[in-house]
């Protein structure tokens, strides 16, 4: 056991840091939940991709550098520490791509990965449905078999990025007689044949949308894996890298460092200072833990349901850090970007509202605790 980065890892970190220092926009980009901000973020992804920094862990042929998991973690640390923009490509590169690598055809990988890496194609996820929030197996949207492909029917919700994205992916029921996890199929589809209705969030922006499918035709070559295997395919990656890549430590380390700076500048009361110190160390612990996990994955181990522990830990930490920042700022913490007195353009408030979704999405923390209890600890269902 050691914490010594290799020469190559150190060089990579230095390169990333230097490049970001020279290229991260001085003024934050507009919100990616606006048309203008979306395009600005896409431009930024183009810039990243030009340096082969958009998907460092992918093979070179698809636009990456074939970097190791540890190098990817280094990239993430530097990326968020530099205050670089959020990743508009996130759904594609972190949720869809791992599945394409493991279950897609060579043609699908060649067709979609390079465009995803350059953000020429931005992908929206379409997992959830109004009546199947946390209970993903209760999906009712369906795909009907037709000549050469399928026709999609039904409604999806909480589709992030869908307002402006190019493509979507999600599960549809292909066997009408099936129930729960069986008979679902993993589809990719163009969003221009889908009715997209943006949903206003607490902060008034439209990061989510509802998708309405009214017989959209999807050819067979947009099915990922075999028909009826959708659930297994979608879940398979959650226990491998996705558990790691959903939220990398770099993000929380950057927030923790900002929080410490905020606490110093506001002369935090000792009680709040104690909580800030705890949060900083929790972020550090998440980082160290992830280094260990990366090694186990690199050695070919599966992390399985243990990723649920990480999900609960980082999502609660993220809420705690942002709530703490609002406490440090008092009344000013609740001002938004339009207020002259807002701190950092209301970034802590935005971050707080965003953080509150963490314990809800990607399996609520209640469900994660069930998974930990049943699958990690072995308690009865």
């Amino acid at each position: 056991m050691d914490l010594d980065f290799t020469r190559a890892e150190q060089d990579f970190r230095a390169e990333v840091r230097d490049w970001l220092a020279g290229h991260v926009p001085g003024v934050p980009l507009p919100s990616m939940d606006t048309r203008e901000g979306f395009e600005a973020h896409r431009e930024w992804e183009h810039l990243l991709a030009g340096e082969r920094l958009s998907v460092v862990s992918w093979p070179v042929e698809y636009g990456g550098r074939g970097a190791s998991l540890v190098e990817w973690l280094i990239f993430e640390e530097e990326y968020w520490a530099a205050g670089a923009p959020g990743r508009v490509s996130q759904n594609g590169i972190f949720l869809l791509a791992p599945t394409l690598f493991s279950h897609g055809t060579a043609e699908q990988r060649e067709r979609f990965l390079p465009g995803m890496a350059r953000a020429d194609d931005v992908w929206a996820q379409a997992w959830s449905e109004p009546e199947a929030g946390s209970d993903l197996a209760a999906l009712t949207s369906r795909a009907e078999r037709v000549e050469g492909g399928w026709r999609l029917h039904g409604q999806k919700t909480w589709s992030s990025r869908a307002s402006y994205a190019d493509w979507g992916f999600g599960l549809f029921r292909t066997d009408p007689a099936s129930a729960r996890h069986r008979g679902l199929t993993y589809f990719m589809f163009p969003l221009d044949g889908v009715t997209v209705r943006p949903v206003a969030q607490l902060d008034g922006e439209h990061g989510f949308a509802e998708l309405f499918f009214d017989g959209l035709f999807v050819p067979d070559d947009l099915v990922l894996g075999a028909a009826g295997e959708g659930w297994r395919i979608a879940m398979a990656t959650t226990s491998s890298e996705r558990g790691l890549t959903l939220r990398s430590p770099g993000r929380f380390l950057a927030t923790a460092d900002r929080l410490v700076r905020l606490a110093r500048s506001t002369g935090a009361d000792p009680v709040l200072a104690d909580q800030v110190a705890r949060a900083w160390l929790d972020a550090e612990s998440y980082r160290l833990h992830t280094f260990g996990t990366a090694r186990r994955l690199a050695a070919g181990e599966e992390i399985g349901s243990a990723s649920s522990m990480g999900k609960v830990f980082w999502s609660e930490l993220d809420v705690r850090m942002h709530a703490l920042a609002l406490r440090l700022l008092g009344e000013r913490g609740l001002l938004d970007g339009g207020a002259p007195d807002a701190e950092e353009g209301g970034r802590w408030l935005d971050g707080y509202l965003f953080s509150l979704a963490g314990p809800i999405y990607a399996g609520t923390n209640e469900i994660q605790r069930n998974i930990i209890a049943e699958r990690v600890l072995g308690l009865p269902r």
Partner: protein, 324 residues
């Protein structure tokens, strides 16, 4: 000793609740600036603390605490705590009290730990603290800087002024009273969030059962109920302490505001978690109450500030006193 509300106190609260149910539904909270204000004026809410010689009811803060729970429960917009609670004390002896009692003088304030004046653009009169002294400022003499934030139905404003009349009253009594009123609103908002979330959990089904039948949801909501149940008595006792000018009043006010703020924040966090993603959107009215809780919890000193005062009051004074 009777630490329970009298029939009169309960009747007044019921009247306020009835008015708000009729005239301040969620739709009005979403779109109106001062819904139900005229009806509340009719039943005397704005004259509660105004002496009888100025046509008020001449009651105490303890009589206002349940009505203020109701305004919090309804998320009533407008500078109601400032007008009905802070202003009568700041304007004590002023002839304007008559208009105040009648509900025809809307007041916003920037006093105490509050850096901004809420709903100042609606005010007929602003009362602003400068170096510990309250000044009455007419709207036309004030320059308001909008400081928009999370609660768009309680907009905040920075206030600068040219021309103002120095008031003869002190700041502290008004700060204490308005802080308790806001604490009561937080208790009311927390009760609403609890009720709404319980209602949602009874009907929303996941995994083949109402989510309210899952123990994790039950226990989270039980914790909210406990937090609200044991925050409320501190708010009531603080109202009594203000009315009696007790030596422990500042401690009691801080205890009320800290406990109510924390209970309401817990209610908000739990409401959102139990609702799941839908709670996060503008589709439901939930967000109106979440924003109100966050904004009121930070108003007149957030729980962190009041907790630090409590630490000093309890640990650094020679003898901690209970009252009575």
């Amino acid at each position: 000793m009777n630490f329970a509300f009298t029939d009169d106190q309960l009747a007044l609260a019921a009247a306020v609740r009835q008015v708000l149910a009729a005239h301040c539904p969620a739709e009005a909270v979403r779109n109106g600036r001062t819904p139900a204000w005229s009806q509340l004026a009719e039943i005397g809410l704005f004259g509660l603390l105004v002496p009888q010689e100025h046509d008020g009811l001449g009651l105490g803060l303890v009589d206002a605490v349940l009505p203020f729970e109701e305004t919090g429960r309804a998320a009533l917009p407008g500078p109601v705590a400032e007008t009905a609670v802070a202003a009568p004390l700041l304007l004590a002896g002023d002839p304007a009290l008559g208009k105040l009692a009648a509900g025809s003088l809307r007041v916003s304030v920037r006093i105490g730990d509050q850096g901004y004046a809420p709903d100042a653009d609606l005010a007929d009169l602003l009362i602003v603290e400068r170096e510990g002294v309250p000044y009455a400022v007419r709207p036309e003499a004030a320059r308001l800087t909008p400081q928009p934030g999370v609660d768009r139905r309680r907009p905040l404003f920075g206030v600068e002024f040219r021309d103002a009349a120095r008031l003869r009253t002190g700041i502290a009594p008004a700060v204490r009273a308005v802080t308790v009123a806001v604490a009561a609103q937080l208790v009311g908002a927390a009760r609403h969030l609890l009720d709404t979330t319980v209602g949602y959990a009874r009907t929303r089904r996941q995994f083949g059962a109402p989510i309210g039948s899952f123990q994790a949801v039950k226990h989270q909501l039980a914790e909210v109920a406990i937090a609200v149940e044991f925050a409320a008595p501190l708010v009531y006792a603080a109202a009594l302490a203000v009315d009696r000018h007790l030596p422990t009043v500042d401690r009691d006010v801080s205890a009320a505001k800290a406990a109510a703020g924390e209970a309401a924040e817990l209610a908000a966090r739990t409401a959102l978690q139990v609702h799941g993603a839908i709670g996060y959107t503008g589709e439901l009215d939930l967000g109106l109450w979440l924003a109100r809780v966050w904004s009121l919890s930070a108003a007149y000193g957030d729980p962190g500030l009041h907790r630090s005062r409590l630490r000093t009051a309890i640990l650094d004074t020679p003898e901690v006193r209970r009252w009575p």
